[in-house]
Symmetry: C2
């Protein structure tokens, strides 16, 4: 199968290297504004050279961003080409539209690399959803915040220092807000929940609290209780309601979550019959992510002609019935409370008016 | 797709329940010596009713044992039927022959449920092997021994008591030797290594030490050092050599392995580019295992027409270059030594002559 590759950044260039020398998947044309040396494929700045090439069967979109990725992906499917993308922003924002378009065009649409880097998470999730009723998906979905929290916990450094370190190592963006505020994790959670439950969630309905307010004092106090902070994204379905939120959470030091180091991801599904299944691995990086893109191309080669899931019913996020136990820090004093996710986030909004540095975490 | 179901024990009956009411996969005929009530399918004691039925596209073999499962599976493939099996003994013993036969018959052969119960381990492993060079596979592959070791570690009970408990709960067989001596784990390791490295290992060449010699004293001494015993099966490929062994191992209390409770499995692959990926879940049980059998049937439905791997070169196990650090207990005294896996198992054989209760573990 010949591939048209849209984008030649970290993921694109690693995907290209992985494919080089293969017979089953070959990159024929690369879309790049800049000329690329050492690339054994046609390099063009005109996307039509890919969209109108009948030899190209798969379009791999690793440009990132919503536009023009969205327009290119739609045009590729309308031209009868299968699409593989690593773009979680695109998949999350245009989920229903893209899945419908793939179905009506009779092409395969895959996005395994959009969640969990190199972990075969979305494929495993989709497989589980086909044979079982899934009740929850959750996990540590953002490697940057896990790196920061691990560094703060293991080495006792402060948030700013840990963030600077993550940026120096290339883990965090120059503008780290999407990671630190939990928006990246929320996006990956929405996409996972959509596939797990056959729904379409609106990302912006998912309440989201990042790690920006965690202090060294919080972490030390948790350590004294044998607990560790992690940023967790969680979605569950119960009696037709779907709850979803992103929030720091306290884990006992003996749990797999508490011991996840560096930029790793740990993602878990719960099925009525499968029970708990967890998946650990590198949540980012050119090689792992490129490998998942390649795996999607091989699935297309193997005859895959559809999206992972077919059901998708728009569903409002409803956190009123999902209970939890919560830790609040307001003006330096800790209190705990058992209440619904919706109530906890409301309480926290009130706390912030009293103390702009207030902090909340779920107690697992 | 119509299914012929060979066997109606734990896995077979749970698979049947999972499939009931589905349109995409339907059980048409069940092979069972006994009549079965409440089964909405033809029940026969004559396997020819399945093998000669042109409507049946998939034969699901969950009888267990080598014979007549082997003969039935071969006959099914020769009759042009796809085969899904959960039978690790069969797959391990006849690996090369069955994979070749599937290829020559042009049918799909799948056995995901043979390793890791409901965990999508073999599918993930095969997917990883298609896009990366794998360097190692290892893990806690036997739920019964994990239950016994967890009970001994967490609750301080002795080996015999823990084993009796496992038997009473239905986790351990009346004859627990295959679990306790590590033979079940070795079989699952061989199958995993075959797929990971594109080889055929001879199971009996893999040195294997079970958990029968671990005492409460060993476990308490480890606890004092912040360590936990687990039974680990490990295979690695380096410079063309494949090492493989099964042995108790000591893990730091903070590792995911140390914190795996009950009958869980935790299986890990290492790839040159993917890094470490781990998979956790229920390693046994009718529902999870039946779900993986169903997933294999859906893969056949989705157009899968081959085995997971195509390469398979017979390869001798070579443990002379794989180094480790080992703990020996002989006549009540502990010593440690850094040496190859081959040397450690030789040393242990000598220790056993001196002290029939001698114990060895790898220090991770």
């Amino acid at each position: 199968m010949r591939v048209g590759l849209l984008g030649f950044g970290t993921v694109g260039s690693h995907f290209y290297e992985l494919v080089r020398g293969r017979q089953d998947v070959q990159v024929k044309t690369v879309l790049s504004r800049r000329p690329r040396t050492g690339v054994d494929a046609r390099v063009t700045a005109n996307v039509q050279d890919i969209l109108q090439d009948p030899e190209i069967g798969i379009v791999v979109e690793v440009m990132g961003g919503l536009h023009p990725a969205y327009e290119y992906v739609c045009a590729a499917m309308r031209a009868g080409k299968h699409v593989v993308t690593a773009n979680k922003l695109l998949m999350c924002d245009k989920y229903g539209e893209l899945v419908s378009l793939a179905a009506s065009c009779g092409v395969c649409l895959r996005c395994t690399a959009a969640v969990g880097g190199g972990i075969p998470w979305l494929t495993s999730l989709a497989g589980a959803a086909q044979v079982d009723t899934l009740t929850a998906v959750e996990g540590i979905l953002n490697g940057t915040t896990n790196y920061i929290l691990s560094a703060m916990t293991r080495r006792g450094i402060g948030f700013s220092e840990a963030l600077q370190e993550a940026q120096a190592l290339g883990y965090a963006e120059a503008d780290p807000a999407a990671d630190v505020d939990g928006l990246d994790a929320r996006r990956k959670l929405s996409l996972s929940a959509d596939m797990a439950f056959g729904v379409i969630l609106r990302e912006e309905e998912v309440p989201c609290l990042g790690i920006g307010h965690i202090t060294q004092g919080d972490i030390a106090a948790a350590r004294d209780r044998g607990q560790v902070y992690k940023l967790v994204a969680s979605a569950a379905r119960r009696e037709g309601r779907v709850s979803a939120y992103v929030c720091p959470a306290l884990f006992a030091a003996s749990t797999p979550e508490a011991n996840l180091e560096g930029t790793g991801n740990l993602i878990t599904l719960y099925g009525e019959r499968l029970g708990r299944q967890s998946f650990l691995g590198a949540g980012a990086g050119g090689w792992p992510t490129g490998a998942n893109v390649l795996r999607d191309c091989l699935a297309v080669n193997g005859g895959c002609e559809s999206f992972y899931a077919s059901a998708m019913v728009p569903q409002a996020v409803d956190n009123t019935a999902a209970e939890g136990k919560w830790l609040f820090r307001v003006n330096g004093a800790y209190t705990t409370k058992r209440e619904s996710v919706a109530e906890a986030f409301s309480d926290y909004a009130r706390c912030l008016k009293e103390d702009p540095c207030a902090f909340m975490a779920q107690m697992r």
